[in-house]
């Protein structure tokens, strides 16, 4: 009897853990690289910032690492020099979180507020079939990642 009850309990709870998710795909195409505007492009439905600096591209997640609110990118009026991990870097923009006031430099490094980690960076590559820019939001990369086309 106990085994039957335990079994029924297990199968009831297990059935609530989805095996298939009907969520938007983690890997998707953005179009041809040269069509992407210079600077920053925000993909609203993906909560993703894609940056183009001439021939190099990189993508930073717009989800705050504290509690998942969408951060807002602001271009700084005045470029500033900051020290990140002992390295002096030039910062041209900042991310701000509306929920709890976390702040990140333009490369996603957290510097104020409760966010415990930098914003996530995702892999970019060129689709072999049609040469479009592809984002893989299922694969995180280091902050020095750049896709040069």
């Amino acid at each position: 009897m106990l085994a039957a009850i335990a079994g029924l309990g297990y199968q009831s709870i297990r059935s609530l853990v989805p095996n298939v998710l009907y969520e938007p795909p983690q890997v998707f195409k953005l179009g041809l690289p040269q069509q992407l505007a210079e600077g920053v492009t925000f993909l609203e439905d993906k909560r993703l910032y894609v940056f183009r600096e001439g021939e190099s591209y990189y993508a930073i997640s717009g989800a705050c690492t504290h509690l998942g609110c969408t951060v807002k990118y602001t271009k700084l009026n005045q470029v500033k020099q900051v020290e990140i991990d002992g390295e002096r870097k030039t910062v041209t923009g900042e991310f701000n979180c509306p929920c709890h006031g976390s702040k990140f430099y333009g490369d996603g490094t957290n510097f104020a507020g409760p966010a415990p980690r930098p914003l996530r960076w995702f892999r970019l590559h060129i689709a072999p079939d049609d040469g479009q820019l592809v984002v893989n939001m299922g694969q995180e990369v280091e902050q020095n990642f750049r896709l040069t086309v």
Binding site: G68, P114, P116
Partner: protein
């Protein structure tokens, strides 16, 4: 005259199958009645005083009844699907006859219930009502723990209901809330996945929260409530009864001349002096019906009035439909969780390269510690039996002050979160204007 008496007789025949001939018969009738058997035959005057319990528990129950009744009607009108939830709430608000009033009553009762259950807990603590008296078989600490479970159940009911309108307010409050769960070590991400039914707040989440809100949590709450009430009866009523029993001066009964048995045989003498306490005596207690029942009706009436009037006065917000890509600025949790939101903002700890997420400290560890402390406290409280059921007993002064300071801290953080936080969670005085920030990025 004859007609009046005949009418009375007819009315009695129609409404009564039997009429009690004595107080005892009337009392038995109450105990045997399924609706009235919650009540004892008689209650002490202290238990039904307005100022001892403030009737906050009764108010909470009345609010729950209002929530159930309005909630059942809303269930006929609400569609728990991502595509239609927002539109159905909009219909309830603007198209359905009295829909706005039903929704407003449901919302106001939910907010008031969180407040009354919290205040009820505060009252029980400061009166030391979780302490056992002298009676045998009492277990008030257990009832205090059941009460804490009821408070958590109330908060969860309110939280799960928060998502259902599927507007911006709902979506982002649940984003913040479920991300706090994911900050738990090791199993956090799994808990979030299970709660949401996936990685994002979508149809899976809505239906889960809906089922929890309309079935699981109410069933748990009703079961706990029945247990709570049953324990009150088992514990001999409210804690104030124990105080009354103690405060009664033993009365000496005049010795009666009689024969006394001793080892040496029967001798003439007086009986042993019997000392009695008066708590169960007629002058200290009243029949439950109508004294208790009348007050319960009055509290019900006042609570309903409060809910109805506040539902008319206070506007019920319905923001723009949920949009996962636009976070409102500022994004705030429901008011009763704003103290937690305030804590999670301020408790990210950095020790060299090691960072402890504020969500874990403020969202899980701190409330967890507070809850464990609250469960343990009745067993830790070593104050004497004289401090049971007494408002601000001098013996419990220090613990009452610490408890009230904690409550005040929570209330203060709630006020700061509600009124003094603006865009990017920056601090603004109420008279300061918020800077205009773009809604879309």
């Amino acid at each position: 005259m004859q007609i009046v008496q005949s009418t009375k007789k007819l009315y009695r025949r129609l409404t009564w199958s039997w009429i009690p001939r004595s107080d005892k018969e009337a009392g038995d009738a109450i105990v045997k009645n399924i609706l009235l058997h919650w009540f004892p035959h008689k209650v002490s005057k202290g238990s039904i005083s307005w100022w001892y319990s403030l009737w906050l528990g009764t108010m909470s129950f009345v609010l729950f009844v209002i929530l159930t009744v309005t909630g059942i009607v809303l269930m006929f009108l609400y569609v728990p699907s991502v595509e239609r939830a927002y539109a159905s709430v909009k219909d309830i608000e603007y198209v359905v006859s009295f829909g706005w009033f039903l929704r407003a009553m449901h919302r106001m009762s939910a907010h008031l219930m969180v407040a009354t259950v919290f205040l009820h807990m505060v009252r029980v603590f400061v009166t030391g009502a979780y302490k056992n008296g002298r009676s045998v078989g009492t277990n008030r600490p257990l009832n205090w723990i059941i009460g804490l479970a009821l408070l958590i159940c109330t908060l969860l009911l309110s939280f799960t209901g928060y998502l259902l309108p599927w507007d911006q307010l709902a979506y982002w409050a649940i984003t913040v809330g479920t991300n706090i769960a994911s900050a738990a070590p090791i199993v956090g991400e799994k808990i979030r996945y299970f709660l949401l039914g996936g990685n994002t707040i979508d149809q899976g989440t809505l239906i889960r929260f809906y089922v929890l809100h309309v079935f699981f949590l109410p069933v748990i709450l009703v079961s706990l409530f029945a247990w709570h009430m049953w324990r009150i009866r088992k514990d001999g009523g409210l804690a104030v009864v124990d105080r009354e029993a103690l405060s009664q001066k033993p009365e000496q009964v005049a010795p009666v001349k009689s024969k006394t048995y001793s080892l040496l045989g029967i001798t003439n003498g007086t009986t042993v002096h019997v000392q009695t306490r008066m708590v169960n005596e007629e002058e200290n207690s009243l029949p439950s019906v109508p004294n208790l029942s009348r007050r319960i009706w009055l509290v019900t009436l006042v609570t309903m009035l409060l809910v109805m009037v506040s539902s008319i006065i206070v506007p019920t917000p319905l923001e723009a439909p949920a949009n996962p890509s636009v976070t409102p600025n500022p994004a705030k949790a429901p008011w009763y969780f704003l103290w937690l939101q305030e804590i999670v903002t301020d408790t990210t700890i950095k020790l060299g390269s090691f960072t402890l997420n504020g969500a874990l400290v403020g969202g899980i560890l701190l409330p967890g510690i507070l809850l464990v402390l609250a469960i343990w406290w009745p067993y830790r409280d070593r104050s004497s039996i004289n401090a049971t059921g007494v408002w601000f007993a001098p013996e419990r002064k220090r613990q009452n002050l610490i408890f009230l300071a904690l409550c005040l801290f929570v209330i203060l953080l709630t006020i700061v979160g509600t009124f003094l936080r603006g865009p990017y969670w920056d601090f603004y005085w109420p008279w300061e204007a918020w800077p205009t920030t773009p809604i879309r990025f």
